[in-house]
């Protein structure tokens, strides 16, 4: 695959999001400090991404003492904070949605938390519309935090909602607005580890074959044009479960088949590649040959390298939802090996040294890191 090469080859920064270890944290095998130390000791970094509402008790309230201890821990373990994943909880009140002023205030508190904890990027989500992103730009600038809106299945780079955001970013011309690329938008197959999980829940081989066949049909057709088509596809998965004696699995097929395994092609990312500030290296498993069987990791890394991307790639292992029989730690190490190999094949390399990562990230986000002590 040859994609547009308009820049010197990029050198993406290796990293991980603690979301990958959700079951270990939720299961109290590791507390936050223990998990950060494990990430450092086993070389999943240097990039470190954290979800605020998952890992920080009381978030978005962060007191000075905690912020200081957290920064000390990151420094001691020689990791590099990349992105704080924040949430637009528009539905936090049961009886109504937040209005725009309330949403801006809600997001501002989280942007302040990102600055205080030393994250140069805040990952935001699709529910924030172009007008709100424009209003948030000066707030992001004030705190030195770049807002990277996540492009996640069932959306994709050329989806009308994403293009509307891109066009607004272009108009606003703020370096503090951009995208987080989530590889789940450009998946190439229904994850075999999830098929195995359904098998363990008693699904027949015939039904599993039909699930794969249906997803492949959608892949051939390309991503859904709009939310209506997305809903129709969701319904087809529900029908499949109902028609094959497993109505209990239908919604699960639909959630994963449409919301985790997006069927856009890798080069769809070219629509927004200049605005990509952060990457979620979403993946679901590693096969016997050491490759990711359903996410085109090698093509995605090549695209990033060829387009001069030198930001962070947070390995985001999502197989933990269903894969209870394998350690996530080994699987993530194997996926990062694929990324490193792919970067070399593309004529570059992944950055794994922390000092080099800081320098590369400073060049990637020069507007933000000028305010390094922005608490």
């Amino acid at each position: 695959m040859t994609l547009r090469q308009a820049h010197a080859p990029g050198t993406p920064i290796q990293g991980v999001t603690l979301y990958s270890f959700t079951r270990a944290f939720h299961g109290r095998e590791y507390d936050l400090e223990g998990l950060i130390r494990k990430v450092a000791a086993e070389g999943y970094g240097p990039g470190l991404e954290i979800i605020g509402f998952s890992s920080f008790r009381g978030f978005p309230e962060i007191d000075d003492r905690f912020a200081g201890e957290f920064r000390d821990l990151v420094a001691e373990t020689d990791l590099v904070t990349t992105s704080l994943a924040v949430n637009a909880d528009i539905g936090i009140h049961r009886d109504r949605l937040l209005d725009q002023d309330e949403l801006i205030a809600y997001m501002t508190r989280q942007i302040e938390a990102a600055a205080k904890l030393g994250f140069p990027i805040a990952r935001v989500q699709i529910s924030i519309e172009p007008d709100s992103m424009e209003r948030l730009a000066p707030i992001a600038e004030k705190h030195g935090v770049t807002l990277a809106l996540e492009v996640h299945a069932d959306q994709y780079a050329s989806h009308p909602r994403i293009l509307a955001l891109r066009d607004r970013f272009e108009k606003v011309e703020s370096p503090f607005l951009g995208f987080t690329m989530d590889w789940g938008a450009t998946v190439s197959g229904f994850a075999p580890s999830l098929i195995e999980a359904y098998r363990r829940r008693g699904a027949s081989e015939e039904l599993l074959g039909k699930v794969v066949e249906l997803w492949d049909e959608f892949y051939e057709a390309g991503p859904p044009a709009d939310q209506g088509e997305h809903g129709q596809r969701f319904g087809r998965f529900i029908q499949l479960g109902a028609q094959n004696g497993r109505p209990d699995l239908g919604i699960d097929f639909g959630i994963n088949g449409t919301g985790l395994f997006g069927p856009a092609r890798v080069d769809d990312w070219l629509e927004i590649v200049p605005w990509i500030r952060h990457v979620h290296g979403k993946f679901f498993g590693i096969d016997e040959s050491g490759e990711e069987p359903s996410v085109p990791v090698r093509d995605l890394i090549r695209l990033l390298v060829e387009n001069g991307y030198s930001g962070a790639v947070s390995s985001e292992y999502e197989g933990w939802h269903w894969n209870h029989w394998q350690s996530p730690f080994e699987i993530i190490a194997a996926e990062q090996a694929v990324q490193r190999s792919a970067a070399q094949d593309a004529g570059s390399r992944m950055i794994t040294d922390a000092a080099e990562a800081r320098s590369v990230l400073a060049n990637h986000l020069p507007h933000a890191l000028l305010k390094e002590t922005n608490a």
Partner: protein, 131 residues
Amino acid sequence: MIPDRIIEQGTLVVDGRRARVEVRIPWYRALPGSCIAGAGLTIDGVTAPTDSLRWRMNDAEYTFDELRTITDEWWFPTDSAVLSGDLQIDAHAEHEVRVDLTLYIPYIIISDTETLHIEEHDIKNMTAVAA
């Protein structure tokens, strides 16, 4: 998500005519009280009356109606909440415990007025202890 961990094994307590059990969030991130929309507590096939249910987290106890407006107390992913209700069961005996949970996911908006909710349940067998 993580429905297999909703009920904490070995936490069933009998306290007079009430029973309680510790529960874990089946989701990866903290949710505020307002997003804990409902629960069911069923022991040996008998379901506690809805109006008798109470939810304890962060050292405070709430009815589910009270939780509707709680947006500044959060159910953290590593914390146990306590679900209790009117159920008369024997201490020191084995029981089948079922907990149903309805949670709103406040950042996933599925229409102009509607927020995604998820319904999860867990069933575990355990021996009750007296309070």
